[in-house]
């Protein structure tokens, strides 16, 4: 039978160092958790935002996302969902369809005040029938300020609703009191996924 060995000084120091490390890690974690804001990122609820919401037709475009954000260029940007885009020849999100029609049969003015949307023909244009083509619409994020005009223009039933507004989480400062959320009259700016689900419901 072997006799139980007494811990050496080195063993005691090892245990003490390990314990101190665990305590330090726990402390850092607790501090991070304590300093974190409310859960999730700011998001736009599509069923509340007047620019996106279906059924809200014939109303003024709301540009509060563009003008209320604390950033010089709002963190809210328009995004075109290519899987839904009809690639229309006359896109009501790209053209100001109320402007005079030119000799080419197209509206003479663009809708975007910052000229942030580019239009590119897909394939060859039939010279005898220039309307007979598809077009790709790409939004330049560096120019877009989230004013919502293209979103309202593309909304169903006039368009297909492929353009939407999104808070770009890489740009958003994640303010505790988002100035857009304060300004939004429709409470469309929500904080996390749970809020979004609740708002959608």
């Amino acid at each position: 039978m072997t006799r139980h060995q007494e811990p050496t000084r080195r063993d005691v120091l090892k245990i003490a160092a390990r314990s101190a490390g665990f305590v330090a890690l726990g402390g850092v974690g607790a501090t991070l958790a304590f300093n974190r804001g409310p859960d999730g990122k700011w998001q736009i609820c599509p069923s509340k935002c007047i620019d996106i919401r279906l059924g809200a037709t014939g109303v003024e475009v709301c540009d509060l996302c563009a003008v209320s954000c604390v950033l010089p260029l709002s963190a809210v940007r328009a995004v075109n969902d290519f899987s839904k885009c009809g690639r229309c020849c006359i896109c009501p999100g790209y053209f100001d369809i109320t402007s005079q029609v030119g000799p080419d049969g197209l509206p003479s003015r663009k809708l975007c005040p910052r000229d942030a949307i580019t239009r590119k023909a897909i394939g060859e244009i039939d010279p005898d029938d220039p309307l007979n083509n598809f077009y790709e619409y790409t939004i330049d994020e560096a120019r877009c300020n989230g004013c919502g005009k293209c979103v309202m223009g593309c909304k169903e039933p006039a368009g297909l609703g492929s353009i939407r507004l999104e808070v770009r989480s890489d740009l958003c400062l994640d303010c505790n009191r988002c100035s857009i959320a304060i300004a939004c009259p429709h409470d469309a700016m929500v904080r996390d996924v749970a809020d979004l689900t609740k708002a959608e419901a």
């Binding site: 037709t57 009809g86 369809i97 509206p107 309307l131 297909l160």
Partner: protein, 282 residues
């Protein structure tokens, strides 16, 4: 020429004569009965709106058409379901390669036509359901431009197909062989005869006199054109819910026009107003 709304048929609700979720297509048969499809059901009304009969479809119906012999055809995704005059189910017509989404149908003594919105063209079959040719694919976009997802046409007794081409803002006429023989319509917001939005007109029907009735979305309107494309009548947006789109249209032998309000789930009936006889007053 002026049209006024004389009544509405059906509506939103759960009673047998109403639709609870969708109302997609209508057709008028030779007896003047109105066949409507929605909610996986066909309902047949008389012109006053009284429900005559109803029967189930296996898949949601997108369009409906009644052949000369009274057989009802319901266009769906991937197939056409057929019913006899009493609503008894007949063997369905399936063609996996040529029936993506059937959104319109037409009948001639020798052939049957159907619109496949998935492949953006009109298919022509003989009476034995053998495919003959496609119509509207002979262009650089290989088909009609239908961002609205719905292709509509009607064939006249001479065999000329009148089809909507919404993203080109016009009505196009084709022979059965697929040759384009005419077209009219332009984009525009300010003049009522022009077509606004991203894609209009969406639906089409022909009157007995050969006039062309079309419906538009955003804002929803109905227009009547003569065969040369001159606008004869306009029914404005206030007749329909603002959110309506792809409103199916049909015309009966008396010239009454039936238009589906896809939001309120009812059928608006329009009749032509008699012109005022100014000379009689003198």
């Amino acid at each position: 020429m002026k049209y006024r709304k004389i009544r509405v048929l059906s509506g939103k609700g759960s009673s047998p004569g109403r639709f609870s979720e969708t109302l997609r297509g209508i057709a008028v048969d030779r007896a003047g009965l109105i066949h409507a499809v929605g909610d996986c059901e066909v309902k047949v009304f008389d012109v006053k709106g009284k429900l005559q009969r109803r029967y189930r479809t296996t898949r949601p119906g997108v369009c409906i058409a009644v052949d000369r012999d009274g057989t009802t055809h319901v266009g769906q995704a991937g197939q056409v379901e057929k019913f006899d005059c009493s609503g008894k189910k007949l063997p369905p017509w399936r063609d996996a390669d040529r029936m993506g989404l059937v959104t319109a149908m037409g009948f001639l003594p020798e052939s049957i036509l159907l619109a496949d919105a998935q492949d953006r063209c009109i298919r022509r079959f003989d009476r034995k359901m053998v495919w003959l040719n496609d119509i509207g694919k002979d262009n650089n976009t290989r088909g009609f431009l239908i961002p609205n997802g719905h292709l509509d046409f009607q064939v006249d007794p001479e065999g000329i197909i009148h089809a909507t081409n919404p993203a080109k803002f016009r009505v196009e006429k084709y022979t059965l062989e697929g040759k384009m023989v005419g077209r009219f319509g332009h984009f525009g917001v300010h003049r009522p005869e022009n077509f606004p939005g991203c894609c209009n007109p969406t639906n089409i029907a022909l009157t007995r006199e050969g006039n062309i009735v079309v419906t538009e979305k955003a804002g929803p309107r109905m227009k009547v054109f003569d065969p040369d494309g001159k606008m004869l009548a306009l029914v404005g947006s206030d007749a329909f819910d603002a959110g309506c789109k792809n409103m199916d249209v049909a015309v009966d032998a008396q010239g009454r026009i039936f238009v589906v309000d896809t939001v309120r789930l009812h059928i608006c009936v329009f009749a032509r107003e008699k012109p005022e006889k100014t000379e009689d007053r003198k």
